[in-house]
Amino acid sequence: MTGTLISLISILLGIIAANSTGFIFKKYSFGIIGNTLIGVFGSILFIKSFGRLGFDPWSIMNDGKFDAFLLIVNLLVSALGGILGLIFVKMIYNKMNK
């Protein structure tokens, strides 16, 4: 059950990471709306793709025993998803609008 909450928290972290990246590196920013949307999809993509390596929400809450280390890995990967998502989408956007 708590695993579901963790998945939502990691998406929120993806949103924060994408917005922070956009704020610091203006050339990658799509504005708060675009950054937020990309943050959501970037973090979901990364967590769904790489979480199976052992840090998905169910592994974090394995048998009800909370694993803080795995949670940190999960949150970091989620944030990375938001950041890389922003950079990747900006690259595609630039190529499509040349």
């Binding site: 695993g3 998945s7 939502l8 929120l12 937020t36």
Partner: protein
């Protein structure tokens, strides 16, 4: 046990209610976006293209929030409703997987192309991407409703010795007599929501004397789409649905309409009244005789079975909530027809844009289609109780036996807190987009 069922149902009700705020707008809005894009292709008037792109931004925010709030729904099938998933997974897994694989990917891929690819693709392909977003969002509704239709009126299944449901006839899932009326009713209701959103943004711009050209366009579009869809929600789709309920779930129909005692001939339609579950009657009732019989069977004196004809444990377990949900939905639907008809009349008389009281009314009515849509779903879901799969699997047999009520309550509180945060973020993003308004193309 009772405690566990209550909290599991409460959590699902909360998460699905919050989730459904978003798809009901995206489904209807995608149709309006396609309309604007088509008008632009036909007339080459730039404001239609600006309008399509502006509403696609609002669509994207809603779509994203829909994805985020949809994730817990997917998990809840496994966590809170493990027995239900175990027993019926062979059937509902088909339609839910198709929703993810076909509709979601179609919608999200072409949404990105619509937003970023206008210059690269040219206008005809840009229109096509908008159309595919519309197709994806409506297909998503179709698959979800196919799942729900099977739960309301199970068809094409076989039950194995171990109690598991397996699919015997795949096409039966999509030719289910429950599905088409439910889908059309749901989609029209989502167009009502979007029409009110579009019209209210238009009214907002006109009242603030800002971007008035777009304001007029949005108001006009919202009013025309709003009136057509409000009428179609009531008739034929709503009528068709109600007849389906009367035919396949007669106990639910009696509870929705507040018929406690079977009348000898000709059932009345109740306009106002409060269910009294102790004395089994409606208090302070205002009713019109024989109308319900006529609406249901086109015969003034046809008998409609009341709740006294059914075993108590076969009837919905929260009759007042079901009765009020249904009556709120119908009452609001009637108000929508009235307001939109009035607005269309003044639009035709070329007075709408200067009628401030009506503009204020349209602007402040925007939460009510959401309420009507959600109470419509409450009617369907409360009406199916005490079953998860009507007549076959009781709700009490579908929960996860090992998840305690305390555990469910804890995560429910977590959801409330996180959804509050997401809700705030959503309001900020949509508010910012509306405040910025459509961006006119410069050549």
């Amino acid at each position: 046990m009772e405690d566990m069922i209550f909290y599991d149902r409460l959590q699902f009700a909360f998460t699905i209610t919050f989730h459904y705020i978003f798809p009901q707008l995206t489904m209807g809005l995608s149709l309006i976006i396609v309309y604007y894009k088509w008008r632009y292709l036909k007339n080459n008037i730039e404001k239609y293209n600006d309008a399509a792109k502006f509403f696609m931004k609002i669509f994207a925010i809603n779509f994203t929030m829909g994805v985020v709030t949809g994730i817990p729904m997917e998990f809840q099938f496994g966590t809170n409703w493990a027995k239900f998933s175990e027993l019926t997974g062979g059937i509902i897994g088909q339609t839910l997987a198709m929703e993810g694989m076909f509709s979601f990917f179609l919608e999200s891929s072409f949404l990105a192309l619509f937003i970023f690819g206008e210059k690269l693709m040219g206008q005809k392909l840009h229109f096509l991407t908008g159309f595919l977003v519309f197709l994806g969002s409506w297909a998503s509704g179709w698959f979800i409703l196919a799942t729900n239709a099977w739960m309301q009126h199970p068809v094409g299944y076989e039950i194995l010795d171990n109690g598991k449901f397996v699919l015997e006839n795949f096409s039966a899932l999509f030719t289910n007599p429950w599905l088409l009326p439910a889908f059309l009713h749901n989609q029209m209701a989502s167009v009502v929501t979007s029409s009110f959103v579009v019209a209210s943004i238009g009214a907002f711009y006109i009242l603030r004397n800002k971007k008035t050209e777009y304001g007029r366009l949005f108001l006009k579009t919202g009013v025309v789409f709003g009136l057509i869809s409000s009428v179609l929600v009531a008739f034929p789709t709503g009528d068709w649905n109600a007849k389906n309920v009367a035919k396949h779930q007669p106990g639910t129909f009696a509870a929705m309409e507040g018929i406690f005692i079977t009348e000898k001939a000709g059932a009345e339609i109740v306009l106002i009244g409060q269910p009294n579950m102790v004395s089994k009657k409606l208090d302070n009732k205002i009713a019109v005789p024989n109308i319900l019989s006529f609406l249901t069977y086109q015969k003034w004196h046809e008998q409609i079975p009341g709740m006294d004809q059914f075993e108590e444990d076969e009837l919905p377990d929260n009759i007042p909530a079901l009765y009020y949900s249904y009556h709120i939905m119908v009452g609001l639907g009637t108000i929508f027809i009235g307001v939109m008809a009035l607005a269309l009349f003044f639009l035709w008389r070329k007075k709408l844009y200067n009628m401030k009281p009506l503009l204020w009314t349209i602007m402040f009515l925007v939460p009510f289609p959401y309420i009507a849509n959600i109470t419509g779903w409450y009617t369907a879901e409360l009406g199916r109780q005490p079953y998860l799969v009507y007549g076959l699997l009781r709700t009490s047999d579908g929960i996860s036996p090992t998840v305690s009520s305390g555990n469910t309550l804890f995560t429910l509180l977590g959801f409330v807190a996180l959804y509050m945060l997401l809700g705030l973020l959503f309001l900020v993003l949509v508010g910012k987009t509306i405040n910025e308004g459509p961006e006119p193309q410069t050549h």
